[in-house]
């Protein structure tokens, strides 16, 4: 057993972090919110160059084949840096195209030239207006484009969305979308916690930094507690997917419940402890705050995921 990231994986994460830190992601998100997708497309391509979008594309189409741990790792970084756009959906949809008429899109997806989106059965696709192809699980359908609470995100199902019939492929894609969304939520929460710790260390009220108040300390300690115990669930789920383990669906649901909940707790704490400034659109933190709310429920609310855990949990004998 080696339940730890290896050096190569850490280096990969660090390279993505460096790329994203230098990219002014908040400006990219604001441009997208204002209707200008060019900066996001450019950044997407650079992430593609760094290998981010090849992680779920089969090797014969220019990808690495599915690498769930790297995928989780990558999404944590994308979440931490607040990347807008349908990253989880692109990854999940990547696994559905081989052998279909659209398989020619895959090399472009792997390189970051093309963006995909995917709608859950009965749900909306994230950012279909940005995507070069949209898949929808379940029946063919259409839903007009609408604005999300997250200003850089829009939801809908375009008329030309490609319906994907239920089957093992769509189940695997649903699981991957949930896994990636869990990772995005965890990364989002990590940034929110770090930013709030930074703020409360310097913001003074009543003559002292507000981070010296016990109520502030305890709230942030609780956020760290949630994030730190969500993280092993995330990587545990990634390993289960990698091993095609029997309990993978349960592990993904557990990870999504924990990461989605922890990310939202981090957002609520960030909002409360920043006070009014955190509540303003113009303060960049609001990008992460709004995203945390949206990621909490996307591809499975904590409530829905908990039920999945209980319904599908193998008996103890089978687990060992």
């Amino acid at each position: 057993m080696r339940f730890l990231l290896d050096t190569e994986q850490r280096d990969f994460a660090a390279s993505l972090a460096a790329l994203l830190s230098a990219a002014d992601v908040p400006a990219v998100a604001r441009a997208r919110a204002a209707g200008d997708d060019a900066p996001l497309r450019a950044l997407w391509r650079r992430l593609g160059d760094a290998g981010a979008f090849a992680l779920a594309v089969p090797e014969e189409f220019g990808g690495t084949g599915l690498l769930p741990v790297e995928l989780a790792l990558c999404c944590v970084e994308l979440g931490r840096h607040g990347l807008p756009g349908p990253a989880a959906e692109t990854f999940a949809a990547s696994t559905l195209l081989a052998g279909t008429e659209q398989q020619a899109l895959l090399p472009g997806v792997a390189s970051g030239q093309l963006i995909l989106s995917l709608a859950a059965d009965g749900g909306y696709a994230a950012d279909p207006d940005l995507a070069d192809a949209v898949l929808c699980l379940g029946d063919e359908r259409k839903a007009p484009l609408r604005q999300s609470l997250d200003p850089a995100r829009r939801m809908g199902v375009p008329g030309d969305a490609i319906a994907v019939a239920p089957g093992p492929g769509s189940e695997r894609a649903t699981g991957l979308a949930a896994l990636c969304t869990a990772a995005l939520a965890l990364g989002t929460g990590r940034h929110l916690l770090a930013a709030t710790v930074g703020y409360t260390r310097t913001r003074t009220q009543f003559g002292v930094p507000i981070g010296s108040f016990q109520a502030v300390k305890h709230r942030l300690a609780d956020v760290l507690l949630q994030l730190d115990f969500a993280e092993p669930l995330l990587y545990g789920a990634a390993v289960a997917v990698q091993d095609s383990a029997a309990g993978a669906a349960v592990d993904i649901a557990a990870a999504k419940a924990a990461c989605g909940g922890a990310g939202y707790s981090a957002a609520r704490a960030a909002l409360q402890l920043h006070g009014a400034i955190g509540y303003t659109d113009e303060f960049d933190l609001s990008l992460w705050i709004r995203r945390a709310r949206v990621l909490r429920n996307a591809w499975g609310s904590p409530s829905a995921c908990r039920r999945t855990v209980l319904e599908l949990r193998p008996a103890a004998e089978v687990r060992n």
Binding site: G122, L149, M155, Q205, A276, T280, A298
Partner: protein, 383 residues
């Protein structure tokens, strides 16, 4: 002990209900945090006022109906149950007016209240400053004595309604701390026009982008003496009574939450899976919280009136958390629709509710106050 609504109150309520049924706009007005919505809401205030429904608890001479606290509670229940628009005048009516009743002069009341009641003048609050949020006594904007009045300088921020309102009220330092000896002394409570020379208003977008508040920059803004509330230098006490109003019953009436709870139950009946006990319990919690608030207000109306002082802190903790429970539950019930920016009134209500634990004194401060003043726990350094 009884909860019977007497015949006269029944009649009052029926009259309000009837009026609302006939006048509440069939379509929801645009958000009052937008220019068009602000104008539409101001027009609605004028309509309310024309039939004396804008300030029912005020004396008749200022446009009210001398309504008791109970009648006001019943009016508010009817108001929100009817789906009537949010009150763009609420900062004036619920925060400034009580202060004028308590600390203002008759001249001020006669001059200011009728225009407030009619929506002719819409007021913004101007409490916080960049370095003075929870710690209000840290404020640094100044009022300097000049012939017949005061010159205001400095900056206020998080002023709700200030993007579109006519006038504002706030505290200014008229004696430096070095001279007054304490941070909450030497403060003067002043009112000023938002279009006066020297005033610059910079709207600030809320979490949903709407300019729900603004920064106000003041550069030698002249305010006449008659716009000082209470005595110069004694503003803190008057401000604290305003803060009590911000936390007490009047700003956030039980009727508001009862109506939201009813809408949540409707949403549950429409969209919820009846077998989903987890969601059912969350909906029920909100219903129970709203009912508790209503009954607690009825107790207040039967006795000493609404909560004041530290008791208002308990009140604020209750309604601010209830509001979040209501809206978070609704968003979850809505499923994929729940993340959209304009789902009925839930999305905007959610964004609004998120601010509840912060404004009017953060809930952390409220818990300190409750513990120290209601429970008698020893004061630490603030907290």
């Amino acid at each position: 002990m009884d909860l019977q609504i007497g015949t006269e109150e029944q009649e009052f309520r029926a009259e309000a209900r009837d009026w609302l049924r006939r006048h509440v706009p069939a379509r929801r007005l645009p958000s009052l945090e937008t220019a068009a919505g602000f104008a539409a809401h101001r027009a609605w205030e004028q309509q309310l006022h024309a039939d004396r429904w804008s300030v029912v608890s005020w004396p008749r001479r200022y446009g009210g109906r001398d309504a008791t606290l109970l009648r006001w509670l019943l009016f508010e229940e009817e108001y929100y149950a009817a789906g009537a628009p949010g009150r763009v005048s609420q900062n004036g009516i619920n925060l400034l007016a009580p202060t004028l009743f308590e600390h203002g002069t008759e001249e001020q009341r006669a001059r200011i209240l009728p225009d407030m009641a009619s929506g002719t003048t819409v007021w913004a609050q101007a409490w916080s400053e960049p370095g003075a949020g929870s710690d209000l006594a840290a404020l640094r904007s100044t009022a300097t004595r000049t012939e017949g009045g005061w010159l205001l300088d400095g900056a206020k921020t998080w002023s709700s309604r200030a993007a579109f309102a006519d006038r504002a009220f706030g505290l200014f330092r008229s004696t430096p701390v070095e001279q007054s000896g304490a941070r909450h002394r030497g403060l003067t409570y002043l009112m000023f026009p938002l279009d006066a020379p020297g005033v610059t208003v910079r709207p600030i977008g809320r979490l949903d982008g709407k300019p729900a508040f603004a920064e106000i920059f003041l550069d030698g803004v002249l305010v006449p003496d008659r716009d000082v509330i209470g005595e110069a230098g004694q503003g803190w006490r008057a401000a604290m009574s305003t803060a009590g109003n911000e936390r007490g019953l009047t700003l956030r009436s039980p009727g508001r939450f009862l109506a939201a709870a009813d809408r949540l139950v409707e949403l549950w009946r429409r969209l919820g899976d009846p077998g989903d006990t987890a969601m059912a319990e969350r909906v029920a919690d909100a219903v129970i919280g709203a009912r508790a608030y209503q009954l607690s207000a009825f107790a207040a109306a039967s006795g000493e009136g609404g909560p004041t002082g530290a008791a208002s802190s308990l009140n604020k903790l209750h309604w601010s958390e209830l509001d979040l429970t209501l809206h978070e539950t609704a968003l979850d019930l809505l499923g994929p629709e729940g993340e959209l920016a304009d789902v009925e009134e839930w999305s905007e209500g959610y964004v609004f509710a998120l601010a509840g634990p912060v404004y009017g004194g953060t809930n952390e401060i409220q818990r300190d106050i409750v513990a120290e003043r209601l429970l008698g726990l020893p004061k630490g350094r603030r907290g």
